[in-house]
């Protein structure tokens, strides 16, 4: 026992902190989800599955499905836009690569709220995007872009693209150059080599990037709130509302549990796929 503590001494403060202030609160939320909302908004301790039956109601299923759809599309676009970027950064001279990656990551570490607000300024009816299109005589009436799903997806892709590029880049840079040489020696042209050698071998990076965007998007609150106009577009807004306005904590807790389950399922699938490939 003394030896065990000695060996793990360095780990103890961190593990205690994370357990006490994250794992325990999460377990609390899971147990809350099996109780009911009291008449005055408190919690009534009757064990049952009511909240989970409620999650299955059409209204809520629709929101969950919609969240998944938005998260999926965001992940897809981020990967489609990010792959060529990562590829071209990899093709750039070695001395510029770190600088280019740093420039890609820089916006990612600036304030999320502000980055999202910037898109409100760009996309709003009197915003720059519409003003530009009107001045160029492409449209006569401003397009309603802000407060749509399109705006939400744009915001999510914008916010998470840097990470996707980094993830795909690291996958490309691990690639064995000899394989590409071999493919070319065997008569494969550039396109064939890319499709048959480079792309399949860099799929783990693509998958990691996609899952990252999906996971962060499906539980997102700020982007659907600001760019989606606070409609109940996504599950994050719904959870927020249960805790701050509707005061139905148990129902909010069950929604959170559903959200975490979806995420964990995906992460497990990814880990499983990676293990199978390698």
């Amino acid at each position: 026992m003394v030896n065990f503590i000695k060996n793990n001494l360095l780990l103890i403060p961190g593990l205690i902190w994370i357990t006490l202030f994250l794992i325990l609160p999460c377990l609390l939320i899971i147990s809350l989800s099996f109780f009911e909302r009291g008449v005055y908004g408190g919690i009534e301790y009757n064990f049952n599955f009511q909240n989970y039956f409620r999650v299955l109601e059409f209204t809520y299923l629709k929101i969950i499905a919609n969240s998944a759809k938005i998260a999926f599309l965001s992940g897809l676009f981020a990967v489609l836009i990010g792959y060529p970027a990562a590829y071209f950064i990899h093709k750039a001279p070695a001395k510029y690569q770190i600088a280019l990656l740093f420039l890609v990551m820089l916006p990612f570490w600036s304030n999320y709220l502000i980055r999202t607000y910037a898109w409100m300024v760009l996309l709003n009816n009197q915003g720059l995007f519409n003003t530009l299109l009107i001045k160029l005589n492409i449209i006569t009436e401003p397009l309603n872009i802000l407060y749509t799903e399109f705006a939400v997806i744009t915001g999510l892709v914008y916010n998470y693209l840097p990470f996707v590029i980094l993830s795909i880049f690291s996958s490309i840079s691990k690639l064995d150059r000899n394989l590409i040489e071999a493919s070319k020696d065997l008569g494969g042209n550039s396109i064939k080599t890319f499709l048959l050698v480079t792309l399949p071998l860099t799929l783990p990076g693509v998958a990691a990037g996609f899952i990252f965007v999906f996971v962060l998007s499906i539980g997102n609150f700020i982007t659907p709130d600001l760019l989606g106009g606070g409609k109940f577009l996504m599950i994050g807004n719904l959870i927020y509302d249960q805790f701050l306005s509707a005061r139905d904590w148990p129902f909010g807790a069950s929604l959170s549990f559903v959200l975490i389950s979806i995420m964990l399922l995906l992460l497990f699938l990814q880990a499983y796929a990676v293990r199978k490939i390698s």
Binding site: G14, I18, I23, P84, A92, I98, Q126, I239
Partner: protein
């Protein structure tokens, strides 16, 4: 290759145009995005007169400083502890990974329920406790990258020469990983300064413990004033500065 350059140019345009627009607007005298009323520092001056903003700034700095200090120590110990273990422990690595992937909103409501159940009075300190959680994970991750090129023999050598655990840690391990510790704590500092949802839920009622992001959110949500562009510019440039410094310390390792 020409196409490649053009593509990267477009990507950087996409990434930086929103930020550049915001910075430009902060100097716009007219205060509205559609017309340019000339260059002015008016909104910046207004910013410094605003008591609410100054108060929120002080709160933010208190939270960020204390949570960074705590998380840097705990996170570094955790990283060293994990890396010096002979065999990988998936359970520990998984636990440390949780704060990085859990949705902010879920972490926020969990902490709110937890603090409420224990009947804690919410305030700045509950925000600090919560921020330390995810900062530990990020510091730990960055410090661990320093072990990629770490020669474990130097630790053995230190033991062979008769140094004890603590001496070895201070004289051998710490100097090698120190750039990572600095980079990690700078990153934790920016994360904490920028964090909104968890602070929003764990700050409690009243405006005493409002942080800057909470104030920005209410400014965006309930009536945008031109001051917000100036404030945003300020915060963006500040984070950029910290990241530049952080990158210098941790040369060769691109920030996560």
């Amino acid at each position: 290759m020409k196409f490649g350059k053009l593509y990267l140019f477009l990507i950087f345009g996409f990434l930086y145009i929103p930020i550049i627009v915001l910075i430009t607007l902060s100097f716009n005298k007219s205060g509205v995005p559609t017309s340019w009323g000339g260059f002015s520092l008016e909104w910046y001056l207004k910013l410094f007169e605003n008591k609410k903003i100054l108060n929120a700034l002080i709160n933010t700095l208190i939270v960020a400083t204390i949570s960074t200090l705590l998380a840097s120590i705990i996170g570094t110990l955790l990283a060293v502890g994990i890396e010096l273990k002979k065999n990988k422990n998936h359970f520990i690595e998984g636990t440390v990974f949780v704060p990085m992937i859990i949705p902010d909103i879920v972490m926020a409501i969990s902490l709110l329920s937890f603090f409420t159940l224990l009947q804690f009075t919410l305030g700045l300190y509950s925000i600090i406790i919560s921020h330390v959680v995810f900062n530990i994970a990020f510091v730990c991750a960055i410090v661990r990258t320093r072990f990629n090129h770490f020669d474990h023999n130097i630790i053995e050598a230190s033991y062979d020469l008769g140094a004890k655990n603590i001496t070895t840690f201070i004289k051998i391990t710490l100097p090698v990983i120190f750039p990572g510790v600095l980079a990690g704590s700078l990153l934790a500092f920016t994360l904490s300064i920028d964090e909104f949802i968890i602070a929003f839920f764990t700050a409690g009622p009243g405006s005493d413990s409002t942080t800057l992001p909470m104030l920005i959110y209410s400014m965006i949500r309930f009536g945008v004033t031109p001051e917000i562009n100036a404030l945003s510019t300020f915060i963006i440039l500040f984070s950029f500065l910290i990241l530049f410094i952080s990158q210098r310390f941790n040369k060769g390792n691109v920030i996560l």
